[in-house]
Subunit: 610 residues, 2 copies
Amino acid sequence: MAPRDLHSTWARLLVQSLADAGARDIVSSPGARSTPLLVAALAHPDLTVHSIIDERSAAFFAVGQAKVTGRASVLLCTSGSAGAHYYPAIVEASEAGVPVIAITADRPRELQGNKAPQTIDQTNLYGRFARAFCDTGMPGETEDELRSLRRKMAQAWSRAHGAKPGPVQINAPFRKPLEPCEANDEDRGPRKMADEIAREPIVRAEQPVARAHPDAIERLAGRVRMARRGVIACGPGALANGKARAALYSLATRLGWPVLAESTSQFRFTGESSETRIDFFDTVLRSARFRAQMKPDLVLSIGGTLTSMSWPLYRAEHPDAFLALLSEHDWADASNRAREIVFGPIAHTITTLARALDRRQDAGNDSVRPAPVTPDSIGPDPQWLASWKRADAHAGKAVAGRFENDAPLTEGALTHYLVHALPAGSLLALGNSLPVRDVDWFVPGAARDLAVWSQRGANGIDGLLSGAAGAASKWPGRAALYVGDVSLLHDLHGVLTAVHAPKPLTVIVPANGGGRIFDLLPLARKRAVPQEALPYWTTPREPDFNALARSLGAACFAADTVSSLEKALAESHEMPGCTMIVASIAPRTVTAEQDEIRAAATHAIDQDHA
Amino acid sequence: MAPRDLHSTWARLLVQSLADAGARDIVSSPGARSTPLLVAALAHPDLTVHSIIDERSAAFFAVGQAKVTGRASVLLCTSGSAGAHYYPAIVEASEAGVPVIAITADRPRELQGNKAPQTIDQTNLYGRFARAFCDTGMPGETEDELRSLRRKMAQAWSRAHGAKPGPVQINAPFRKPLEPCEANDEDRGPRKMADEIAREPIVRAEQPVARAHPDAIERLAGRVRMARRGVIACGPGALANGKARAALYSLATRLGWPVLAESTSQFRFTGESSETRIDFFDTVLRSARFRAQMKPDLVLSIGGTLTSMSWPLYRAEHPDAFLALLSEHDWADASNRAREIVFGPIAHTITTLARALDRRQDAGNDSVRPAPVTPDSIGPDPQWLASWKRADAHAGKAVAGRFENDAPLTEGALTHYLVHALPAGSLLALGNSLPVRDVDWFVPGAARDLAVWSQRGANGIDGLLSGAAGAASKWPGRAALYVGDVSLLHDLHGVLTAVHAPKPLTVIVPANGGGRIFDLLPLARKRAVPQEALPYWTTPREPDFNALARSLGAACFAADTVSSLEKALAESHEMPGCTMIVASIAPRTVTAEQDEIRAAATHAIDQDHA
């Protein structure tokens, strides 16, 4: 008896349904069990198939794409432990609210629980980190089975793009044969039926649009109206936050409040100077005197938890300040002191808040419960913003001028020239640990108009090259990733992924002896562990990064001076594929550089506030 | 107020308790949150700390160690997504029954659920793949808290080494400061109490010893006594199975039954010729005529599911053969046709079975229910074993003599010379996909006395370098890994892990254009997909493996002829650290080589059985 070809029909309908729902990118890792789906995906005119060997790298690539597109990329892998490698990126996607669909091909039910090779229980493989799980069941041939498959794909898509977008797992078992067969007589009926079903429009199941609750906006507007000394703090946020820039700065200007915007918020690198932005707020807030004197009465926190290490000190020293949070969907209150959390899309919430402030306060509105009004607490403090701006100027002076000469490279110089070398509209991808901080320490927001890609969902040092390669593959302009050497070693396969990705990516890695963030922690600063034990934290396993990059197919530049860095950056931006710039920086440089800047800034700020 | 140092006391007691329970190896990945535990582990005289950047690689390393030692290695990582990288190795450990303890450091409870950085819900991170989960709670100072910590460590150890050993997760939250502090007055009491508790002997909680059920042994002995044509098939098994070799072959000789032992069973590479072992059973069973004529009445399957692709054909063509399974703990019956499964340690079960056969059948024993006795079914068939051995000789002839000349390298020649170059008592680590099959196809068991390390729990192509490096770090003799190029690219960080591992490892990788197992599948053989789509399965992403290995610190040899291979193997065995031998093999060679061998063997066997 000739084998049936039901699996090809089933796979085609599955893939067509995902495409009809909105899928455009399939990220496939090699394996036999996923063959029917890969064959169908390769044949589909609207789908691009990316092939990445390591499922972990593939998953970060897919999540990186979706951070740019807002649309789930579809992961496809074989059965067994393959799907387990998606877990770290699934965690990041779940935490960051990024849609992704993971299809784990599976063995049929008769090969479950009896130690058939490459067979594990794949049910709900990602536990609470997946928004939904569905099992397609074995390829079926009745109309109801075929329609249920199409419905499940519509559901998976809908649930991946819900109130807080996230990962969805689809488990898809197939029996051998896995490759397409000659259709026999029995196959023709189901195939015809599947084709007809696939030609019908797919059910659209749009999740509702979230909008900030009007009562919350009114309450917040009441608070804001009464505040004399407010601070707007912008933590990590989606690329879409870039649309809220004008509204945010117009609100800040009108209130006379400083904007502390870290790079990942999308509010920092506007390419324009600003009368409200405090570029070097992390440095400014190192001054204990400044922190003490600048008592806020309201903090408007936008997006995720700020990366700055000095911001929490400031917050903790003024626990009575009313803390309001504008958040897309996260309870991002690491201080446990929030008083009002307004959920909803950031741009819309800011616009609505501004409009509410325009309206006269309606004292009869029950939902507004202002704090008791005292003479001291009405109207903005005219000195407030000016003090912040003056301190920021001091900090800026401590930074400026450091990177002019052709001196040995420092983290500061690297960051400075990297940002300035990028064309406006580029995507700057930032690694966690030091890179995401370096940029805020060393580069003012007027330097460039940039979108900033990061992985601040779980804030890991993992999957950064893979994720940035995925983001670059969808970004209309240039893309560059600044990533630490330990992160690079953690995501070695990401180099291969970036090399084979459809669009160029420049990777800048400081070869500084690994894990230098630990130099900044008490562990090293206070010599709390013996010096010879420090490598267990800093992991100085420097391979020959140049040779490594080249062996994997990346172009590579070595830079050890400002001029060689500038040259490498300029050349890399003209090159296709993955280019790696290995910047040699002496270990511990960042500590010294930071100490100097902080000392100079604090000295000037303290004098000002004597 | 000076900070408390409770966390150091707590971490010391935790680490001391694990060491008292039996831990010897800590595999740590860098991070801040795990600092108290890493400090305590580094200070402990009985513990060796291995530092591996990528948690995924670290976990496979730990599991590789435990496959050799039988003792859980202890993983240690920071909070957030770090622990998610353990997942693939946790899956392998769970499926293969290997003990491992994963300590995920965590943020304190007050930083849970409010988007503090590097904070996710780490509860039960590995779902059903962990045997147990415990949370230590925050560092405490009462006697009961301290005693509970010690008890939880004893429990974790006990549960990791249970009936089927496996992974246990310990979640350990810490609050800042994380580095050791000057102990203040308040700290002295708890520290003294913890030291006293740690000096008491830890509770021993040995899991019961498993022994095959006597009734099962009797039933099976009854069946075996009546069988005329039995087959002993040995699938993947733990290294400890090596102890059962003498018992197994003595049983087979006495019964006159062929032993089909794949390399991963530990029963193949004995270094001695055998009157019962059928070395090339996979090739022999490619002959449809042989399969049809050699009707078995009993199959005694030992260990896991056989890797051979022809074995299931043979089994399926004789569904009436009584299938008995000797298994340590797995229901390893991919055919769904087992009639008797005897759980228990393999060596002991075989010995007990042999002893039961020695006793006269006691017809009055209710637990023995022999099949109806017919004249045809009593006593062994004297031609049975001879036919198998003759067929094996034909297959052996088709293989032998192929690798004599200094011809271009093939998979066969590579495997042949690799095994012969290893000193007796070496550890041969085999990658999945082709390597694990190559050895069975090309090398007879008399070639060498070897222990064979593999990852046949979930049979993935993942974590093989990392796992082998872990196994090598604990093996008393030489260790060599034969691994495919796609597997190597999947586990790139494994090269770095092997380079920094405490003992040498030779890695032999065939550079053959990637994923050649797909050449052997219908997908390629029947041209079921267009040729230009094949790379999506074979993934021919050949980097410069030599340069890659060198950049990461491995010594490297390139081999493209038998003589250069032999030279490289000889030299590598003298070298410390990680040595990589990149063997250039033309893509598709394996298909042609296999086709030739199978054709010659089948021709000779078919003539014999005409």
